[in-house]
């Protein structure tokens, strides 16, 4: 990838033009054609194991030299087994139903024209992500299955790995007479190049940033293209007065401790005052056993052995760690008001045996995922049945919550007449 030119000479617009041309080709493929390409890609990824691991070794050597955090190094590392998993994920995407071409609501109007909606790809997606080489294959496959071209801009640390994976996918595209720009990689991680990409609204239809809040803010502050925004997940569990304490305890422990570092982990426990005296001692013992640090309101503080008093910003904190905010509320209305004020719009859970209160919670709370008697940890594309997830949106436009293939499409109107004109 060496060049005599300085990196800024990379032609972003030319890449976008190619990606748009490729997107028009992809939009016309049948589901069977796309599935065949994806299956061939899975096979090719495994066959290319030595080349991909060699490229990954370059990234890993640089990562060790730069002394990257062990967790980052682990995300960066590819192995033969991980490549098998990557290929399996591509095959799973091939097996998902294709949303493109689906028609709904086709019905006649009084003048006899038939009007319906047909699902179509968005066109060109730009994925901006951090140093995770697996996203290159994953996002490439999801975009292909939904008929979109994708421009991938991963983290600098994974560039060799990403380019090696993309090269394999592009070879398969070429064999199927598809423009390889259908899965394009920005070969230069320079921020100036990213900024230029984010201006290309004539060619790129959607930007999906995946990563930390800093990356998402940078992208959405600088993009002239619509951006899917996914900020923090401050997820609430409300233990209603009509809760089954055993279920509530299970949801609390699973939500907080099964994987505390992810956005669908619980951050705040709200407890109805009528059940506080019964539930909080159980919660206190179980949380202590798991080593969860509790930040408690004055009314709940006494139930915990080593809790700290909740400070003013406590209920707006995403811990992503074994820590939890706790508050006793007077009523159902106080619980929903607390959630409306502090929620990040991600996932909220009620634990209750009362069907009326369950229905009221489902209707009233307008976060992206609203649950009754289920763990917040189910709030991801795979668990909710999307098959795969390309991102999560916590803003309501276009997509809200986990995004699967359908979120990479839109609907056009189709009209079939027999010569009708407007009077």
């Amino acid at each position: 990838m060496q060049s005599a030119e300085p990196s800024r000479a990379f032609d972003v617009v030319a890449l976008c033009v190619q990606a748009q041309a490729a997107s028009r080709q992809l939009a016309q493929l049948s589901e069977a054609q796309k599935n065949q390409i994806l299956s061939d890609m899975a096979t090719a990824l495994i066959e290319a194991t030595p080349a991909i691991l060699a490229a990954n070794a370059l990234d890993m050597a640089a990562a060790r030299e730069k002394d990257l955090a062990p967790a980052m190094q682990d995300r960066l590392l590819l192995t033969a087994e991980r490549l098998q998993q990557l290929a399996a994920a591509v095959r799973q995407i091939a097996a998902l139903p294709d949303p493109v071409g689906q028609i709904r609501q086709l019905a006649p109007r009084p003048n006899g024209i038939q009007v319906g909606r047909m699902r179509i790809p968005l066109g060109v997606i730009a994925m901006i992500y951090e140093a995770r080489p697996n996203v290159t294959a994953d996002a490439g496959a999801l975009c292909l299955k939904s008929g979109n071209a994708v421009i991938l801009r991963g983290g600098r640390e994974a560039l060799h790995s990403s380019l090696a994976i993309a090269a394999v996918l592009q070879q398969v595209l070429g064999k199927h007479q598809i423009n390889p720009a259908a899965i394009a990689v920005l070969p230069d991680p320079d921020r100036a190049i990213l900024l230029e990409l984010l201006q290309q609204k004539a060619y790129v239809d959607l930007v999906i940033p995946r990563g930390g809040e800093g990356l998402i803010h940078f992208v959405s502050d600088n993009s002239r293209i619509p951006v899917i925004q996914h900020y923090k997940g401050i997820c609430h569990l409300f233990v209603d007065k009509a809760a089954d304490p055993d279920k509530a305890l299970a949801l609390l422990l699973n939500g907080k401790t099964q994987r505390p570092g992810v956005c669908n982990a619980l951050e705040t426990l709200l407890v109805h005052q009528d059940i506080a005296a019964a539930f909080l001692p159980l919660a206190g013992a179980a949380l202590a056993e798991k080593g969860v640090q509790v930040f408690a309101c004055p009314r709940s503080l006494g139930y915990f052995n080593a809790a700290q008093a909740a400070g003013p910003s406590q209920y707006d904190t995403e811990y992503l760690a074994l820590a939890l905010s706790v508050r006793v509320v007077d009523s159902f209305a106080d619980a929903t008001a607390h959630i409306e004020q502090h929620s990040s719009g991600h996932t909220e859970v009620i634990c209750t045996q009362d069907i009326s209160r369950a229905q009221r919670f489902l209707k009233q709370i307008n976060s992206a995922v609203v649950m009754v008697n289920a763990s917040s940890r189910f709030s991801d594309g795979g668990e909710l049945g999307l098959g795969a997830e390309i991102g999560i949106s916590t803003s309501k436009l276009h997509a809200y919550g986990p995004m699967g293939l359908e979120s990479l499409t839109t609907e056009k109107y189709i009209v079939i007449g027999d010569g009708q004109v407007r009077q």
Copy 2:
């Protein structure tokens, strides 16, 4: 509306906070409650005819003084009869089905949790429009029916009329114990205030500009909130070799001449070479009779008496007048390639009796509305069966094409379990 304070002292953020509070109230109303409010609004608009016409007289006097164009003055003018129409439109919106609360795809996952999608309002909509007082009632009613609060910012020339209409709607809201900020009007048309509104992404979920290209560019260049974009309508009619010439002629004349000044009027006629000799003489005579100025490609020029040769930018021109670009194409593929290159993504029509070519056109062309044997003039919300239209989107994100009530909503996930946790 006079004040001792300078206009810049108007508190945009306070208005947005109120609108957001109101939106949470609206999101919880039942369809019956919303319909009753809308019905009361229709009645109140008619009862308030004298007050509204008095306010409108102030706007009309200023318009005459400023010597506004007659067409603009006509759009500004309210009469008792027009207020009756306005009230009737509000009643029609009440009669539309409510998208909010609809649930789809509710189905169990292998672990027994049930997962579905529930339709919810977006929250707060900002409508930016020109001097059309009817939009104030129309947009207010559409947003209310879909459970959204709306902040209305109409043109300066219609401000007295808009405030008078909004005051009537707000009185009805008050009688139903709804925060009147559910239908808020920016009382100051200053651009600095508009700019401030466009920054309030913590409170406003969507901006819908309605008006000329200048307004839409200004709004989308300056907004930090997602904007529905509706640029030009360069609509194409492709007369295929398998077209019925009579139908083709009817679609051409209706599309071009029934109302040439609107975005769903035809701007370009493409004719397959195999039918050119049969069709173009008919088209030439009929267009001449209607006084349509033709800009023709070299191969079609000879068929028209007074045509001019098409210049380089002709096929990118939105005439909005009795003028038409004409081009003979070699093939179906040339027609679709021309459309891909020059289309604005609004509406394209094929005239053909061949079902395979019709299907191919429907699948291949990804404009917002794609038609077979029907007039492009049907491309609006009312004609397509949406009941009412709040805007048209020519970008694919969130909404594409005419936008009805459903476009003012999004979907959240709902999950109903019985204590399940993630393994």
